[in-house]
Symmetry: C2
Subunit: 566 residues, 2 copies
């Protein structure tokens, strides 16, 4: 069971992908921009979009075959696009024990393959996923409600980047110890003690990926590939409303594994009916040693409390804050914020929720602005950005599920507070059944207990609170407390004051959230770039881990040593 | 709160210790022999031993002062040397809240100091501990019962090596991300997006070290220095019978911190009366975010279950196995095993407990040996090694506590099974009150349920089971099952068969234990060398972590990013 991948295709894959792996390792160290996966749709060929659409259409209304995966013969699935159409795709169902047995049988050869072979197989899977980015874009669009452009980028190349990043970290971590080392210890006048020591990375066991509704690939690939590249078979349990993108991923992984001479059951799909509780059943199985999860705080906390046999990596709810103290580019700030709040209808775990605006006013290059002026100008910026329904649709996407729609309705009725901007119904000519809403901008006062109760809870979806605070100092303290108590995936601020900036940096380091300062152009608080930005920190209640650092991969395997004299 | 250590002494320390840090990083990567701390007592000067004795004697019978640490005015302590003398040292006592408040106040400056300053301060602490290795040796000897030679090496330079190893890993992990990075993303014909990104390692919070009775420094330094070097204040809760070595450590750490301009309360001592439950009280305090523990499985499991707010690193009980299949150096094997089993009266978490010997016999360079012959020859080797009381004392040390003595008595009375070798009372002329016993060698049969019940539980102390098994294959399977079910810190085997060796390696990789093969000289299964050997794996129930790998340090801090356009 020493590390060796004898299959000629594996050797070919190691060779084929070594440059990409080296590029990823170099980028992760330098943190400069890098990606092997073009983010422009046209990079995928003249007919790429149409081919992807055709491939996606061919999947609809049919059973989705997963050759060789154990099944109880049942098919499940009930995905409906947030844009209207029923997908009609059904997936083979299996009992947990069937899948676990098959995955355990597949594990030894994968454990023995070693880090280089595992990285190469992972990169081949990612390369094939990449080549089908347009097909994935359609699958992501019609399960999450993301607009096509975003579904393509975030669901395609950017998700692939995050997967590759995890593979690179996993490879680096597993190769920190040499495979074989000599040890010679002087013994004075006697002969030295001399040994040969071999180090092998051994996987923890089976890994479980519990996928989310909004970013099945972007939030799924880091955990999936981190576990897989460290030698653990991965059971993919997608969200029942966003199964297709991960089912495609599983099928591609199985194709590559088969071609490379491995058992395809190293990657299996655990499809379920909506309302099933298979995730909870699987999560506490003793064979499951790693869990990656993105979703609600309640189930994330449940996993952390109950899945004691596993390493559990969670990304849960949070409340993201923007402090607006001062700016030398008022228009740029308004435009940047308007886009951040509108993108995918605020349905990103990274979307700012609370804008903290001092009652004492905001210094800008257009003079000092009162709280009311800033709120009105931001409302106007959002309205302007989303004035045209077609353009608005391309930014907003569709409302992902009834829970978000309900909160939008509640916001519109003034339930969260007075509205500076009411949500507007947007109609898509292509998808008339799509539920599309512009953001609600709710006015709030940090001194009012009812307001505080509303804005200090995660209000997932297109609802933003413009919170009046006493002063910039009070804003910084509210940011700090919000992150510590509610958690946050992102924080942002606008300031031209050195003192305020220093206080902000101090608060963010203390509370454990990453900070975007003075974004007025084409970078947004809710976006992070793989190989450069960390996604989350693991240092506040919103997540116990980050994409991607050493801690995200280091505990997915262990090192075992064999030593002997030579 | 950016990383900066302005104190001139800190700059001096960074300079003074950079070569040692570089050496440790290089050794941890190459895994060849290396240490900056000489293991020969004479390397510490002509009068080193006497000076250390005098320094130790000066501590006895007095209150141990810890300047500047909060206290409730009480003094506690009741250490008695396993060699007889009452130490009479008392330590300042404090309420948990007093210590926690003081440590929290000290934290921000340490968090801001950055990885290089923290490594340098850590290395200065280790250098001062190293210079006082003889004093530490006396303190370790008279709290653990280790013989002086072992107390010097394992409690001194080897413990310091493990501390330095943890510092090096912590430094490497915190500097994998650059402090500052540029990011430039091309935008086709438009200007590229350009940002500056700063990454800061932020500590988790307060760390708690729960020390053990047998190896207060060797098992304490990895966690202590890993937490400290990653920015976390450390509260040291020693075992009430082995407080002095860690109290000295705390005092030296506080001296260096004070000289370097930091608050000495970054390292505090939580001394207690024996029978107190302060460890359990501290372990669930919300401020405690990291716990390192060595000791019983029951309290280790309790910590893992209840200290949910903390990262918990545990080393617990295990059952270490040696498979004896065949050897080309029968005398060497017997001598190596005899020493392994005798060293510190088997009171090491790494001491072999079960020797699995096929009933079909053992092929050797002296012909085939039956189970009975191997057992008799091993008994003779142990008796021979320990024939002389003075020499025996220097190997065995003293029995550390009444629990071990009780098991020795039980073994002598045949409670664990028939004896191949009865424990012998050894008398020390220097310390007539010391309780010293040679190992008991108990005969056992793997087919007998009563025998299995006895040898498949940890029997900590000088008790070894010579277990008759059906065949080499059965031995390998019993090794595998023992590790998986009972946990193990070490495994060893003697074989000249390629098939048996392959099966052994396979079983050890599968069960997650490191393997020492065919040790017949001056390396012993129970010893691991820092920078080269891992101590434990974290892959079986005996421990959830290892000294020292990336996983041991990576989760003790988090990375927070601040990004802005440039």
């Amino acid at each position: 069971m020493t590390a060796a991948a004898d299959h000629p295709f594996v050797a070919e894959l190691i060779d084929r992908h070594q440059e990409t792996l080296a590029g990823a390792l170099a980028a992760a160290a330098s943190r400069d921009y890098w990606s092997p996966y073009p983010e422009f749709p046209k990079a995928y060929g003249e007919t790429g979009l149409d081919d992807g659409k055709a491939a996606f259409d061919a999947l609809l209304g049919s059973p989705f075959a997963i050759d060789g995966q154990p099944s109880d013969g049942e098919h499940v699935g009930g995905e409906t696009s947030p844009y209207g159409p029923v997908l009609g795709v059904t997936y083979p169902h299996a009992e947990p024990q069937q899948l676990i047995t098959a995955m355990q049988a597949a594990q030894p050869a994968w454990a023995a393959a070693g880090p280089a072979a595992r990285a190469a197989v992972s990169l081949e899977i990612l390369a094939r996923i990449n080549a089908r980015s347009h097909e994935f874009a359609h699958a992501v669009m019609h399960t999450t409600g993301q607009a096509y452009g975003m579904a393509f980028q975030a669901g395609g190349p950017h998700a692939q980047d995050r997967g590759l990043e995890a593979v690179a970290y996993a490879y680096a971590e597993q190769t920190r110890l040499p495979g074989k080392a000599s040890w010679t210890k002087p013994q004075g006048k006697r002969d030295p003690l001399s040994m040969v020591k071999e180090f092998t990375a051994v996987p923890r066991g089976l890994a479980l990926l519990i996928g989310c509704n909004t970013f099945p690939t972007w939030n799924g690939y880091p955990g999936l590939f981190a576990s897989f590249a460290t030698g653990n078979p991965v059971l993919v349990k997608p969200h029942p409303r966003a199964t297709l993108p991960l089912a495609l991923t599983v099928r591609i992984a199985r194709e590559v594994l088969t071609e490379a001479g491995f058992d395809p059951n190293l990657v299996c799909l655990a499809a379920e009916h909506e309302g099933s509780t298979v995730a909870a059943t699987l999560a506490v199985r003793p064979e499951i040693r790693i869990i990656d999860y993105t979703g609600s705080t309640s189930f994330g906390d449940w996993l952390e409390t109950n899945a004691r046999q596993a390493q559990v990596y969670t990304e849960k709810a949070g409340v993201n804050t923007v402090v607006i103290d001062s700016t030398d580019n008022y228009r740029g700030m308004l435009g940047n914020l308007a886009f951040s709040l509108s993108l995918y209808s605020g349905q990103m775990c990274t979307t700012p929720q609370n804008l903290l605006i001092p009652r004492t006013g905001v210094r800008t290059d257009e003079g000092s602005k009162t709280y009311d002026e800033v709120v009105a100008d931001l409302a106007a910026a959002i309205s302007g950005l989303l004035a045209d329904d077609a353009k608005a649709s391309a930014i907003l996407g569709a409302v992902v599920n009834p829970g978000v729609l309900q909160r939008t309705v509640a916001a519109a009725s003034g339930e969260y507070g007075d509205l500076a901007l009411a949500p507007r119904v947007v109609t898509s000519t292509e998808y008339p059944a799509a539920v599309i809403r512009t953001p609600a901008l709710v006015k709030a006062d940090s001194d009012k207990p009812d307001d505080r109760a509303a804005f200090l809870e995660e209000c997932f979806g297109p609802i933003t609170f413009a919170v009046a605070v006493e002063s910039p100092e009070a804003a910084v303290e509210l940011l700090r407390r919000t992150v510590k108590e509610q958690g946050a995936m992102t924080a942002a601020a606008y300031t031209i004051s050195e003192e305020v900036e220093a206080a902000l940096v101090d608060a963010c380091l203390d509370a454990g959230v990453s900070l975007s300062l003075n974004l007025t152009g084409g970078v947004f608080a809710n976006q992070t770039a793989a190989f450069s930005d960390l996604h989350g920190t693991g240092a506040n209640p919103a997540a116990n881990s980050a994409y991607c650092d050493g801690a995200f991969v280091a505990s997915r395997f262990r090192s075992v040593e064999v030593r002997r004299h030579n």
